[in-house]
Symmetry: C3
Subunit: 434 residues, 3 copies
């Protein structure tokens, strides 16, 4: 793997952008001043004073000055990292040169901000040689101001087919002597501009899913030791949709997402963490439904699944298809249909159980989940086993690593974590796997 | 981006293939003569006299002669572009040499066809070095006949894993001094042969979806300034299926498709254009259903969603799951479930509205869609806002750009466009965004 | 395409791993001795004595000795190929050197096993230069023991983003003079470790689908003349799920899968072969349901589709949406909803029919499938045509090629194949397409 970044972060949950200057405001930096005060779950892992799309073109010179001023004043206390976005475009030398000027403005040591600037975000990059131009400008900024080469990070917005392809070349390019691409940090998808670049059309104007782009971004990050972040989710009121997108992203290895409001930051900071309480779900004819816990019994109350018992024989109806089953067949069917979502506590339990088995010389053990399912008043006990070996253990460790990363880097979230999970679970989670 | 193609077209909706010679016909070129007479919506953007798969192997020498003859006679009046397909195979030097001979035949200036030949289509290409062999043969044809280097376009059929990978290398290869790959025009998927090359098996023999291939083709086109076209849809009678495929392709940035009949050409020419009238849809338990407009009210008449009001409380049942909601919750749920498909007129309105806001110094504005939904007699007003910024505006511009491209290049379709949209909308659409 | 492998196999259905040594057993090689006795449908195409994850770290030196011993004793009679997996890791020189030592142990001619060792499986490979390190070690083993260069195959487990990207470079790298990568044989996905490497998280801990990885593996195999194999399916009791995964893989061109038990081997050996009897299916509101044959009539007995006739008019209800249709419209709708899964016999019939047409000078013919569908007692005749040309014929040949490959290489399965299909069908299948 390329040399590790200078960063301690292995995970970034949130990428929060803020306009840098607004016309007609008493204090054009008002929003920046407000954002830099965020703490705890409302404060992002990465804060991005956005001197590109969020700020009107004619306000960007002032925006660059505002960033320097606000970060100089309050950057030292900000709990996350600070990565301003500057202007850039693969097709416009003029825009690229403007980006250099804004970086020189923001990082000028006389402005006293640079110590709390962790890097820059470069939008609209093209192929890998275009990335190198941005890298070179950052190197020039570093030399101009006596900073160590590579000390400023570089994150890019992937919003063109060219840039998507460039992510496949990072391993080959990052080691070369004529660049400092080891400074790369985040690969962030920008789906609106990507949609334009791909010339995609949807009837409603909604964004396509771009699953392949997200996979390729996650893979690019994995191959080059970087972190993948998904683009903005613009329906700000749709909290469920935002959560579902985060969960779908995590299943691709993309554990971070853009946030447009402190409310979105809070959701995006919390969603990738394992839940406080475990729960069972059932696949109700293609829809995943959470079962309601009644003591130790998990109850399905919907109308998409019907179950009836007559003399030890069972009629199970799922979405209009009827199956007559004996008890063992029913049990097997229910094992297939149900899943358990473990709590943080459950995960730590499993980790510890596997570690103990490993110490006792076992390479693989069966992990058991058992419960009682109730549908239409009929109850049936089920049990599912999963074999855990070293690979399973390592793969299941990811949410715990994420938790530890948060815990190590975000002391301002310790109270909320303790409140969420309890002190004891937090303590065990930070100790497991050492 | 590589140098723009010599073409004016930025979009190609239709790629229509015709056999070049048929045994036992009085006039073996009969089908060519018929196809070259097509006009208006039945005439394709790109017409492909197909001297490969559509024509029997022993008829292909005659086929090459027929192409030259028919294009010499009637090519000047044909409203689309003409790109004959010749034989080629990555694994057969004999076939490749035959392809050169056919190109020499067709482009021979003494045959008087070459002025109306826009380029050649090369099937069964392999890796990028194989593409260069075809490019070299076209260069030879150009020199032999005193044509400018690069004046004949080259389109390829992607029907192997090798060729799929080659699309990732185009940007690097197109600028090199020893080839003329800037002549590249269309990247066309050929799913039947691709299925063979991938050794894929489906139980029914139906073609796999090959979503990843289509994404990679669209991305390759985007990165290299080319145009992506999907392969043939062989169930000719399945008009709905063909339309759905075109819509799914457009959402990937693949706005063109192969057509096997003038009927398919007509559908494929019209489907990517915005509809004449806007309409609302609802997600009825996973199925998108168009609502019926009753004046300003949008009515759902199906049985997959039920709605009942009792004393200001609402029972909404979707696919057997019941939700009891107050009015605001119901409104929110319906906003989530419904979508609006804007007409061309609506799109132009939104464009103009955003342009006016931009001139007034605003970077982002909310676009509002409001209507009344009726389900089981219960009516509820809904309203959805979407924030538009410059990126949204640019992305929403794609269907308008497509329309303008059609309008500029296909005067033979002006009457049908005016009939479809009205003169006024056509006029405004051609003016917006200038 | 790169030079063909030294192998006769073009298809590998099964990749069966066995622990090489177990602590506390009388005979630590017991499982190896049992596995090497497998014959017929329970014996895999490729058997993998697994000296990596399946065997505890402290048992692996003994495991390497066991492999040599067991293969020396019984390898000559084993009906499949034998490819031991040794330890390797892209990030650990120590592990890689251990892998070399184990290969030297297993291939030592004094152990008498090497004549029946077909190659080695290298897990946890990284980028292409890491693959070359493993290739070099195998070259060293070959030279050390006087074997021909390239005579030992190399298969890799794709379980990192790096390795996924490396598959795109194989064609360029396999021909280079300083490696022997032509020895490559299988590309095997390893989804558990891949999930870890991608840092992916799912709420239940279930493996993500990784469709893009599987596509890229299949494409990599297609482009480089190799064979794609999917990773382990760890819910061993879920036979239906395993079959569905195999069928989904085949539709991507990935015709092989990892097996953990002889029971899984049997399923995975049989599933890719065409069925003994053809059957019809219907799309019942998104779920594919097999129709029950009652003589020549295909009966739908479920409750997701209702059909009623009144005076020659039909009411068809699918998933709560009602359509009133005349007989022709109903027929068309049913043609859309139904599919036929051809038997081996049917496929051979179609092949022969097309071959006869080709000899008679026809390039394309319509293949017809006709039957009667019965729903709720209402019967309707349907007929579907599909145009076959040379490309269709070639694509439909894949399952027949697979069958022939099995027949040629696995004489121990001849009896079971004859029992499954009948001697006559087997005879015709082995003759068609010659």
């Amino acid at each position: 793997m390329p040399e590790p970044r200078i960063h301690g972060r292995e995970f970034v949950r949130t990428f929060f952008t803020t306009p840098t200057a607004e016309q007609g405001e008493d204090d054009s930096a008002k929003k920046l001043r407000k954002a830099i005060q965020l703490r705890g779950m409302q404060a992002p892992d990465v804060w991005v004073p956005d001197n590109e799309d969020a700020t009107a073109p004619n306000m960007r010179d002032e925006g660059a000055r505002n960033i320097a001023e606000v970060v100089a004043d309050d950057g030292a206390e900000f709990p996350g990292e600070i990565h301003p976005r500057v202007v850039w475009h693969r097709d416009s030398p003029e825009t690229r040169y403007k980006g250099l000027q804004h970086m020189l403005e923001i990082a000028d040591p006389e402005k006293d901000a640079v110590d709390n600037i962790d890097g820059f975000v470069i939008p609209e990059v093209g192929d890998i040689d275009d990335w190198k131009k941005a890298d070179e400008f950052i190197t020039i900024v570093e030399h101009e101001y006596g900073l160590e080469e590579g000390s400023l990070n570089m994150s890019v917005i992937i919003e063109s087919g060219q840039a998507e392809l460039a992510m496949g070349e990072l391993r080959d390019e990052m080691g070369k002597p004529t660049n400092n691409l080891e400074r790369l940090f985040l690969l962030v998808d920008g789906e609106v501009d990507y949609t334009k670049d791909m010339r995609a059309i949807t009837p409603t104007g909604a964004l396509p899913e771009w699953k392949e782009l997200r996979h390729n971004t996650s893979r690019g990050a994995s191959a080059a030791g970087l972190i993948a972040v998904d683009g903005p989710y613009d329906d700000i009121r749709d909290v469920d949709g935002y959560r579902e997108r985060i969960t779908a992203n995590s299943a691709m290895g993309m554990n971070g997402i853009w946030s447009l409001t402190p409310g979105q930051v809070e959701i995006a900071n919390k969603t990738p963490l394992p839940p406080q309480e475990g729960y069972w779900t059932i696949d109700a004819d293609g829809r995943t439904v959470e079962l309601e816990a009644d003591g130790d019994v998990q109850v399905y109350n919907g109308e998409r699944i019907d179950l009836e018992e007559t003399n030890g024989s069972y009629e199970l109806e799922v979405g209009g298809e009827e199956h007559v089953l004996d008890e063992d067949e029913l049990r097997e069917e229910l094992v297939d249909l149900t899943s358990y979502v473990p709590s943080m506590d459950d995960i730590v339990d499993s980790m510890e159980e596997f570690e103990a088995a490993k110490e006792a010389g076992k390479g693989a053990i069966a992990m058991t989940q058992a419960t009682t399912i109730r549908i239409d008043g009929v109850e049936i006990d089920i049990q599912r086993d999963r074999m855990w070996d070293e690979a399973t253990y390592q793969a299941m460790m990811t949410p715990v690593k994420l938790f530890k990363d948060v815990y190590a880097n975000r002391p301002d979230q310790h109270d909320e974590l303790a409140e969420l999970y309890g002190e004891d679970v937090v303590e065990r989670a930070t100790q497991v796997g050492l």
